[in-house]
Symmetry: C2
Subunit: 472 residues, 2 copies
């Protein structure tokens, strides 16, 4: 994949890539006062270790020990990226200064524009007109900007300094900001994340196209309320999905939700039914909630794609094994019988009193007394030809669980997707165990139905990819 290849429509990779890799940045509206967004971002830039940061504030000479400038035009060096975090009425003059200074891109976090109605939209058109005169692109307004850990560019919340392979594009600032924080706490790293807000200039499709081309990005997560150009989004999404998964949460699928979206980002959310069709046709992994986005992200970030939709279930508790089977079937997955060879191997290796070696494999209370049976069951089922994925319900947690899982996966880890449900120690303990397992590239969930849903999404995406390859 060439880094310079033109995306389906419009903006090219070479035009957008520098925005994510600025050598210098001006923070217009920088502040030393606690509680101000200009202070939050100062702290975050310093924490990330961004080098050439220029605070801009007409009433300060120095902010947190760094020389401040009255205007971006007073900065005695080139400025690649400017962040405008001022009150609404100071935004347009600042954009004008940036254009005159020759800034390449401007992030406008300030709100009070298109999301408030026609007057605000007019201001957006004006800011774009001014910026374009200086050859400058705009991200926002009403956004939280860009997180690019390899370039030390921070989000307001602390998503960590480590770079990873997940790209994020979001019309909701908080979605992008909190997603990167929440997932990074569980060991998931991000290549880039961008919140595009009201999309006065660059829009979600531009960034989706960029992340689709970006070699650092292997998996994309998106939040969208609407697409400015539906055809372009459709073509882009389909083209990217053939190469990397796009997990999307669509906001405003109901009339009431769409109305709320209109006052949120000024976006026209479009009909839920049309979007459903688009998501199906384009191979997009459609998540219905923030939590489902995270659940999908966990599976897609560390598990291979399955060859089919047949699940082998390994459960300690019998009742939860029954419910997890129900959940798999309800999601269109299959829980088929094991082959005679596998049954024979299981019979030799497994205790059976109170349990069952059929699919779902019910290890019974024996799994509490001797958790090593999990490792044996996993290594046997990784070789079972009748199943394409494994769902393990474990009654132990912590490092013991991790070590047993890693032992069971052995060299076979990566052959079939595995999702683990942890039922040990209660909700807080489980949250810690999920983080521990994800850091060892094991997808983990607090509930069998959620593990099943993540496997269903993996399997649907695999089918989309196979269908595409079959059509070539």
């Amino acid at each position: 994949m060439s880094r310079d290849k033109e995306t389906v429509v419009g903006t090219t990779f070479t035009e957008l890539d520098p925005i994510f890799h600025p050598r210098s940045a001006a923070l217009i509206g920088a502040s030393g006062k606690p509680g101000k967004i200009g202070r939050v971002l100062m702290d975050r830039f310093l924490d990330m270790g961004f080098r050439d940061l220029y605070p801009v504030n007409p009433s300060e000479r120095e902010i947190l020990g760094i020389k401040a400038y009255p205007s971006v035009k007073d900065i005695p060096a080139p400025v690649d990226l400017a962040l405008i975090v001022t009150p609404t009425n100071a935004v347009l003059p600042a954009v004008k200064d940036c254009a005159e200074k020759g800034v390449r891109a401007i992030v406008i976090t300030s709100s009070g524009f298109g999301e408030t109605g026609e007057k605000g939209l007019e201001l957006e058109r004006e800011m774009v007109r001014i910026a374009r005169l200086g050859g400058c692109r705009i991200i926002g307004p009403n956004c939280v900007g860009i997180y690019s850990p390899s370039s030390r560019l921070p989000f307001p919340l602390d998503a960590g300094k480590e770079s990873g392979k997940v790209g994020v594009v979001s019309q909701s600032g908080f979605f992008a900001d909190y997603l990167t924080l929440a997932a990074s706490r569980n060991g998931i790293g991000f290549s880039k994340a961008v919140s595009c807000g009201n999309e006065a200039d660059l829009d979600a499709s531009d960034f989706l196209g960029y992340l689709g081309e970006d070699p650092e990005t292997e998996l994309i997560v998106a939040y969208m309320e609407g697409a400015r150009d539906g055809r372009r989004f459709h073509a882009l999404a389909r083209e990217i999905s053939m190469r990397k998964p796009v997990i999307l949460l669509k906001g405003g699928t109901t009339q009431e939700g769409a109305q709320a979206a209109a006052s949120h980002t000024g976006s026209l959310a479009g009909s839920g039914a049309i979007w459903e069709g688009v998501l199906r046709q384009t191979g997009i992994v459609s998540a219905k909630s923030f939590e489902e986005v995270l659940d999908c992200l966990y599976a897609f970030s560390c598990q291979p794609l399955p060859k089919g939709r047949r699940v082998g279930i390994v459960s300690g508790p019998g009742g939860i094994g029954v419910c997890t089977t129900d959940a798999c079937l309800g999601l269109g997955l299959e829980v088929p019988p094991f082959s005679p060879q596998t049954l024979a191997r299981l019979r030799r290796a497994m205790p059976v009193v109170g349990g069952s070696i059929r699919n779902p494999l019910d290890l019974s209370l024996a799994s509490l007394v001797n958790p090593q049976v999990y490792a044996d069951a996993i290594s046997i089922l990784l070789e079972e030809e009748n199943i394409d994925m494994l769902l393990v319900v474990a009654v132990i947690g912590g490092e013991q669980l991790r070590d047993i899982l890693l032992k069971g996966l052995g060299d076979g880890g990566g052959k079939k997707p595995v999702a683990v449900t942890i039922m040990a120690g209660g909700p807080q303990s489980v949250a810690g165990d999920i983080a521990l397992l994800l850091k060892s590239s094991i997808a983990a969930y607090p509930d069998g139905a959620r593990a099943a849903r993540a496997l269903a999404r993996l399997s649907e995406f695999a089918e989309f990819k196979r269908g595409f390859q079959g059509n070539q």
Copy 2:
């Protein structure tokens, strides 16, 4: 409600209540060896502070400092309850001893009976015949028994010593055991919990009837794979639901799940479609996963029932407010416009830049800088006649969130149900915050869609109750 009132069919309250309040207990198969279930239960009985415990083991004279007896018949005092945790082949002789000793009830945790097929079923019939000769009832086999904190009767996992108002009946031992542990970690207390296993004698309906009559139990959680007598279950469930909510997870709703249930508890799971009808007609709160059981339990244990299905949403993040609105609508809830009076009050009290005072109320980034706006929004919306419930999406957590919520709820807490979504600090932090809020009787969730689902269940149950009252 009389404590002696006969339940719909069969077993009476007076017959079952002593089982949950034994003055003395024998543990047949007690052990001092780590890893044995007989040791786990010894530890748990001692930890709970149960007084008159008699370990029974023919090859030990003392276990953990307590005198052991070769047989239950050698115990020189009356025994109210016996727990049999021996290997399968030692169970029948032990039951015979108990019957001869005049033990009132026997819990049999041992497995290898009805769940293994016809031969095991024959053994069950034989154990019941023997027990009945001594006027003795059986719980199990293949179960974890009874948790009754007010009588210091423990489960194998540590669900705490504090008594509460939630009753549990489960055909899965692990479901009951882990549910009580997980919920107690979040501050939910239990009146009684019983795992009825293979139901050789007493069955889930007997215990459901008992908990329905039990004045200590205000809310029931159940896991069932099948009902021995469908008509009886239907009548009982409907009669109890009129007085207290029954949250039920039905295992084996699919053919594959039902097959797994057959080898789990030997239960005939029955058709998913028939059960769906039963659940609708009886007012049972039907949960589809273990996690949904907990989510419902959290709302039902601390929130009042709503007068209607109209939700007011208070959100910091706009995008999550949009998605939460979609989730509410998708669950049959309404997100109606606020009244002009409420809009006027909100307009005076709320910052609006980047936000919106419509429903969903979008507090925007201002909620991060000044979280007190949550308290104002909640206290205003508690008085809004156009809404019946509140769903708050908070971008702060910890004690700050709890204090702000308590301030906002003020004296109005309890007037309308409130569910809170916490999006702060990442998954582990949120798990801790949920426990903190639940301990202050605030229902909390990590995701807006789950908070919406809990409110939908509350509202459906309220509608069932209103329908019943209307028909009287």
